[in-house]
């Protein structure tokens, strides 16, 4: 019985340590992500000016103050790709979001730097964001199921998805309302 408990403990420790080490890292670079999204069609690189009004809403979505005067994105037709960073617990997660016609086409974790919460990179999790829109009060219109032990990472990905939807809305709507 004792031996079984020791073996179970060893398994848990090894799983945590090795899992954490495996989970961390850069999975895809920015240029690779953009190339994958747009394929043969060359996207146009552009930026969205962060006016005080946009910053206020962006800060409300992110629940922190958003800095910078502009944010970079790539687009072709009605599709845009955004690469953003948000801190999960202590370190930033780099997230790529593709929007098509104001709906999320894809969410992809490009880099994860912390030792816990990396499960958000799994396609089974990110698939939940497909076809999601933003509501009038800047929340996602679909509930995203969390992952036990990755609450902060899930929250970060969800905030970035909402922000990308808002930015896309702003970038594809002219003039600014």
């Amino acid at each position: 019985m004792r031996r079984a408990a020791k073996a179970a403990l060893l398994f848990v420790v090894l799983f945590t340590v090795i899992g954490g080490a495996w989970g961390k890292g850069v999975y895809q670079t920015g240029p690779e992500f953009v190339a994958e999204v747009f394929g043969d069609t060359k996207p146009q690189a552009d930026y969205l000016l962060l006016t005080p009004g946009r910053k206020e809403i962006a800060s409300q979505i992110m629940n922190r103050s958003v800095r910078g005067l502009r944010t970079r994105y790539w687009h072709n037709g009605n599709t845009s790709a955004w690469i953003m960073e948000e801190i999960g617990k202590e370190l930033p997660i780099t997230i790529g979001v593709v929007i098509n016609d104001n709906r999320i086409q894809q969410v992809k974790i490009l880099a994860f730097r912390e030792s816990r919460g990396w499960e958000v990179r799994y396609p089974s999790f990110t698939a939940q964001y497909a076809d999601v829109k933003i509501t009038e009060d800047f929340h996602l219109d679909t509930h995203i199921d969390g992952i036990t032990g990755a609450t902060l990472s899930v929250r970060a990905v969800t905030k970035v998805a909402a922000l990308a939807l808002y930015y896309h809305q702003q970038a594809f709507q002219k003039p600014e309302e």
């Binding site: 670079t29 920015g30 690189a45 930026y47 800095r67 005067l69 944010t71 970079r72 690469i83 880099a111």
Partner: protein, 250 residues
Amino acid sequence: MPQRLRKIFLFNIKWHRRIGLGITIMLIFLAATGILLNHSPALNLADKHLKAPWLLNWYGLEHPQLEGVRIGDQWLSLSDNSLFLDTAPVATCPAPLHGAAGVPDMLLALCEDALLLLTPSGELIEKVDTFSGLPEGITRLQALNNQILISNAQQTYVIDPESLSISVRANIEDGWSTPTAVPDALFKQIDSSALPGISLESLILDLHSGRFFGAAGVWFVDIIGILLCVLALTGIWAWNSRRRLNGGGK
């Protein structure tokens, strides 16, 4: 019985006085630090940062070094991932600062794998990193004829800060910006809350609990606490004994 009681009373009062006198200074010190901690928010103790080298050494922190680049009459410098324009923190930037430069209407700071674009007043325009197309391993930056040049170990590039288009150009070896220590006069004026240091609140708390002196300090304060309890008990006992000796309490 009264004789025996009197002897115990005298023994008790003798030690009550000795303990009282012995811990007087510590009691005043603990009371004073306790009162300060109670009013810490009103006194803004958490916002007052101490940077004395001996104190930082005592806490095992390195004395903050500020390295920067002079651009015209301004300094862009970095300490502990905080980027400063002259005396004000303007952005976070992963250390080390490799270089900084200025072109008309824009300042640039090159940190580890990130190029920060700032307005002349220090407002962050955009952070460009390897995810937004900055080549890997860029460690050198300079402004040449209003062009922004960046370089890694293999190649020199020209980067357009508007479109972020990056083109290769012939390698050059001279003119790259190199951070140096900022002048003392500037360092002293820098917004100290953004530099690593010990807050006055933490220092007073550590002095109050004895932690400032390590485990021995904590034990010492524990002993003072125990002696204070003994003082209270011997005081009550002395008061009660005096009543009984004087025939009171009936």
